[in-house]
Assembly symmetry: C2
Homo-oligomer: 333 residues x 2
């Protein structure tokens, strides 16, 4: 397996990206080639810190970078020599089997969508992201690639999310839910009501409409929504979690009594912080394109990059794309 890594993508690039890639190249036997794509000088500078680098780790120069705040589609078109564009080119040209980036999400979606073909039967590629909940994480699809979706697209997202949940997260028969406001079939907007009917008639293990409460109580393995709503769920969850974490810290440092208490109970906060961290999940795949593209969080550290490369490897191994095309050969009207 050959992985192209966008060495310049993410808040801590290239340092953390290079560090995670070095570890992945050393540990993962099945990875036969790992190409760091980005400013050769900067990347080689980071590599100097490591001894005895494996031969399979190479550098592919790209002179430009799409910044985190840039408008994605325009940036990808304009910056032909950006690290994300070049990494997508390597995959397109058959020189790599998968791409990992922790950079601008929109740019990754744009690069993969513009340069690669879509899988047969897929109207739009979608981002499948893994979110921690009470017992075990669930997959949210689409997490932000498509703002306006048809019921048919939501059906395809369900199929793709289900395959991902089964193959990568190991759920035998994933429970699929449709994000809505109210559990009854009649609840929701026009698009979700039609999607509900389609999903109900499909052979999937469809548990119906789910609200946010259901997601965090672990009622589903796959939560389906358009990218607007999915992104709102994702960002609201992150914001409230951060708001809470900061607030707790502030309140606990308000006087010496609370500080002492917080010190005694420290283990609780360490456990929580660890489980909330997205590092373990590594990255969210863009599903529905004819190659593998894994998108890491902008704040990815070396561990997150390592796990993102691991996810890319598993997506290749499980032939997720073949399974998706197979299942979408026949679709409801």
């Amino acid at each position: 397996m050959r992985i192209a890594v966008d060495a310049m993508g993410g808040d801590f690039a290239p340092r953390e990206v290079v560090a995670g890639s070095v570890r992945a190249a050393r540990d993962m036997k099945d990875v036969t080639s790992l190409v760091l794509v980005g400013d050769e000088h900067a990347v080689r500078g980071e590599l100097e810190g490591f001894k005895g680098l494996p031969d399979k780790l190479t550098v592919h120069h790209a002179s430009e970078v799409v910044e985190m705040g840039e408008a994605p589609a325009g940036a990808v078109r304009r910056k032909k020599d950006s690290s994300i564009s070049r990494a997508a080119d390597l995959v397109k040209q058959g020189e790599a089997d998968a791409l990992f980036t922790a950079g601008n999400t929109g740019a990754a979606v744009a690069a993969a969508s513009l340069k690669w073909r879509r899988l047969a039967g897929v109207d739009r590629p979608a981002i499948a992201t893994v979110i921690p909940s009470r017992d075990r994480p669930f997959v949210l699809i689409d997490a932000g690639a498509n703002t306006d979706c048809t019921p048919r697209m939501l059906y395809q997202f369900a199929v793709m999310g289900r395959i991902y949940s089964r193959e990568i997260l190991g759920r035998p028969d994933p429970r699929v839910g449709l994000v809505s406001i109210g559990e009854e079939e009649a609840k929701g907007n026009e698009t979700t009501r039609t999607a509900h009917r389609i999903l109900k008639d499909s052979p999937m293990n469809f548990v119906g409409n789910v609200e946010s409460r259901d997601l965090y109580e672990g009622r589903v393995d796959v939560a389906v929504s358009d990218g607007f709503v999915g992104n709102v769920v994702l960002k609201t969850s992150e914001s409230v979690a951060h708001f809470f974490a900061r607030w707790i810290r502030d309140e606990l440092s308000r006087n010496w009594l609370r500080k002492a208490g917080a010190l005694l109970a420290r283990g609780a906060f360490v456990t929580m912080k660890k489980r909330l961290s997205s590092d373990a999940y590594g990255g969210a795949p863009l599903l529905g394109v004819r190659n593998i593209c894994i998108i890491g969080h902008g704040s990815s550290n070396a561990r997150a990059v390592y796990n993102g490369i691991r996810v890319a490897q598993e997506a290749i191994r499980h032939e997720v794309n073949h399974l998706i095309e197979d299942e979408l050969k026949e679709q409801p009207e």
Copy 2:
């Protein structure tokens, strides 16, 4: 001012509703009549626990109740003698100036929408709910009354939310934001992109698109969205907050060291719980109808009911509806 209270609405009705109403009748001088609408036997039973009840507190019998899980519109049409229907009737017949309910939100929206007229210039009534954030609370409109909205409706929601923020929450020139996924004007779905253009050209203090992060950092006083997205923001926030609170409690009781720490730091958790409680805000108005309808949380206790009646009183006093009609006389195309 005469207020009709749905005595049977809410998880703790009629007990807490009656208790909050008794307090309101005693404290609020401007409330000249407070009608408890619901099962006479049950309501009088609760009233027996209080001594020296003011004369302005009366009971209006209604034999039915719309339950929390019932499909709203159907239930309101079918149960003509339900407490929420009767309370809305009293307002319609001019026997009360405002309605408060902590019952089924959809039923309240349906009763007010079906029985009352809309304000001139309003296409759809919307729920304005107050959400705590870092510094001070913000208004989210629509929190769930309308799932499919036009850009014009979103503009009207902004006008109504702004008046509510200014008159009831006392913000001199409320900052209005449009809930979207990305701050740039081009981000969002078709509806929000058009709404963005309309709001930008309006004389409002429009700060542009806002993401969840901005909401909880206190960047806006009014957050505008359709009812589907608004409800997702609201429910996700509540779910993550509950998930967090329960998780902290679990982690802190895992061993004696943590328990001791939690005990020392207890003040921090008490403060947080108090500020997170929605009791202080009392209820969310349904704006855009020709009367006042305040909808409390299903879990409202006596204090929340008391504050809900206070909000109803303030909405009447500030003539919110006149201001809304005035401002919507001229609307952008």
